[in-house]
């Protein structure tokens, strides 16, 4: 039975109302294609976790998918605010519970989840107001030195969606460029969906095994979706659509403009192909070639 599915089927089969969902990717490889499908399928009551909610979760909050947000930096990177998020937190429209850490805290939560430990120790948060704001930040005494270290609890999502440059049909996925916390989030998760720019033969994966970040054995579904990270980027494939990120400031500030955006680019298209057809001149973002030299795996 193949794991390779259309996005519609992968989301329908694996993402349920009320799930804790992670679509990771630090600026790089953020899978907007999956988020849009989840919005189209009108999932509700999701706990959305991510270091940087970014425009992707701002859209999901605006679309009413989220009951709760777990995060560490909620801005529009390099641009400004996420206004749907701000309206939810400042005005309660829609209501949104939040659980807040720092980046290191979120990384540590995924690390604990991936290692199937209940907590992760870190030297952090002394002097800050974060533990007062979030009682799940606690501490533990070192059994050697007696000192107290901060702890965060494991995060084990129901579903994690990772976008990769390439994978085989079993979901063995290779990523280069920024790696973020995708590996940790995937291993922490009950279900993993890999979305990739390219489907390749296993022989391509096996020719450079050190590049594999996610092994197929932890993957439940594979979706092949070229340009699936747009307006985010994929190193070696396409650049970030920064014009769109800049325009999100105006779109997200105005609820009517945001609704129009969702109508035109999410609800109003059947799939990723239709979304891409409505984008202005994607070729301007196509990556130039700057190839890494090959290495020898022989013996």
């Amino acid at each position: 039975m193949t794991k390779v599915l259309p996005m519609r089927d992968a989301i329908a089969q694996h993402v349920r109302d009320g799930d804790t969902l992670v679509i990771e990717g630090f600026t790089h490889l953020i899978c907007f294609a999956a988020a849009h499908e989840i919005i189209r399928q009108r999932r509700r009551g999701l706990t959305l976790a991510r270091l940087t909610p970014d425009v992707i979760y701002d859209q999901m909050i605006a679309a009413g998918c989220a009951a709760k947000l777990v995060f560490s930096w909620a801005g529009n990177p390099g641009v400004g605010s996420l206004h749907a998020f701000r309206r939810a937190v400042e005005q309660g429209t829609p209501p949104l519970e939040i659980e807040e850490y720092s980046h290191f805290g979120m990384v540590a939560r995924f690390s604990a989840g991936a290692a199937r430990l209940p907590f992760w120790p870190l030297r952090d948060y002394m002097g800050t107001d974060l533990p007062a704001a979030n009682p799940r930040i606690r501490s533990v005494e070192c059994p050697y030195t007696g000192e107290r270290l901060a702890t965060v609890p494991a995060l084990n999502p129901d579903v994690t969606i990772v976008h990769a440059q390439r994978c085989d049909a079993d979901g063995n996925a290779q990523i280069w460029g920024l790696l973020g916390v995708q590996k940790e989030a995937a291993f922490a998760s009950k279900t993993v969906i890999v979305v990739a720019e390219e489907l390749v033969e296993p022989s391509v994966i096996r020719a450079d095994p050190n590049r594999t970040v996610i092994p197929g054995m932890i993957v439940s579904a594979v979706v092949i979706e070229p340009w699936g990270a747009h307006p985010s980027y994929a190193q070696g494939y396409y650049d970030r659509d920064n014009d769109f990120y800049v325009s999100w400031e105006g779109i997200s500030r105005d609820p009517a403009a945001l609704d129009a955006y969702l109508r035109d680019f999410v609800f109003g298209v059947r799939d990723r192909a239709e979304y891409l057809a409505r984008q202005p001149e994607l070729r301007r973002l196509t990556a130039r070639r700057q190839m890494a030299p090959p290495v020898n795996y022989g013996y």
Binding site: T27, T52, S72, Y125, L130, A133, G180, Y245
Partner: protein
């Protein structure tokens, strides 16, 4: 402000870079007196040599040509918590008299007047970097006596001095504003005026912070940006004026 910040970096140092003015300052330093500066971004790019002004700390230009790219667990555990970062750059909506920074909320946490982005990596940079530099434009709103929320700890947090809290790093050694430079007092860690830009008076700076600002007996002069620094900033590093809205 950017040129002044750049001069605080020594050649060969390892700098944890934030986006915006800190990024500009680091790239200015690389282009002038510190070509061997090692730029690390929390996204995992180490020894980055961006060929364009990165629009975010996760820009692909930070990857192409970098010395190393690693996962974020390594960045925070093996570089930052390990003590390998010599300088951390921080900015923020509010900076208080002890160098505490707020990037979380204006007002009450549960019912904020303005919800800011939050910590990102700033909390742990403030704890672990061997020293931090803060860049912020001076104003009474930006420099209250006490921040609404301590996101990144300074020299004195809710009555407890930094050292007693067990933080490995030295904290904010300089706060670079557009009027002058503040430094922590040796005794109590309270920020005091240490240097002035040409033509700025002590009273002007006092008017732009929310507490009775101490001024050192002997105030330094901040040298204005040189022609070379201005040219690099305006023509090479930020020709689109993405970050240089206020000045260099």
């Amino acid at each position: 402000m950017t040129a002044v910040a750049a001069r605080e970096l020594r050649d060969g140092e390892v700098v944890f870079v934030g986006i915006g003015l800190p990024n500009l300052a680091c790239n200015l330093a690389r282009a002038t007196h510190a070509p061997a500066l090692v730029l690390i971004y929390e996204s995992g790019a180490v020894g980055a040599v961006p060929e364009r002004l990165p629009v975010s700390i996760g820009d692909p230009a930070l990857v192409t040509g970098a010395l190393m790219v690693c996962g974020m667990a390594d960045v925070f555990q093996f570089f930052l918590q390990n003590g390998r970062i010599e300088v951390g750059f921080l900015g923020g909506a509010q900076v208080d008299r002890f160098g505490n920074i707020n990037t979380t909320v204006v007002g009450d946490y549960a019912h904020p007047k303005v919800r800011l982005p939050g910590s990102g990596g700033a909390a742990e940079i403030a704890v672990h970097a061997q020293r931090t530099l803060i860049i912020a434009r001076a104003s009474k709103r930006a420099f209250p006596a006490a921040v609404d929320f301590i996101t990144s700890p300074g020299h004195h947090c809710r009555g407890v001095p930094r050292r007693a809290l067990g933080m490995p790093g030295a904290g904010p050694v300089k706060v670079i504003t557009d009027l002058g430079i503040l430094e922590a007092g040796a005794e109590d860690g309270e920020l005091e005026l240490a240097a002035l830009y040409p033509g700025v008076t002590v009273e002007q700076v006092r008017g732009a912070v929310g507490w009775p600002l101490r001024a050192r007996a002997s105030l330094g002069d901040v040298a204005p940006p040189s022609a070379r620094e201005l040219e690099l900033l305006r023509d090479v590093l930020d020709p689109q004026k993405r970050y240089l809205r206020g000045g260099a």
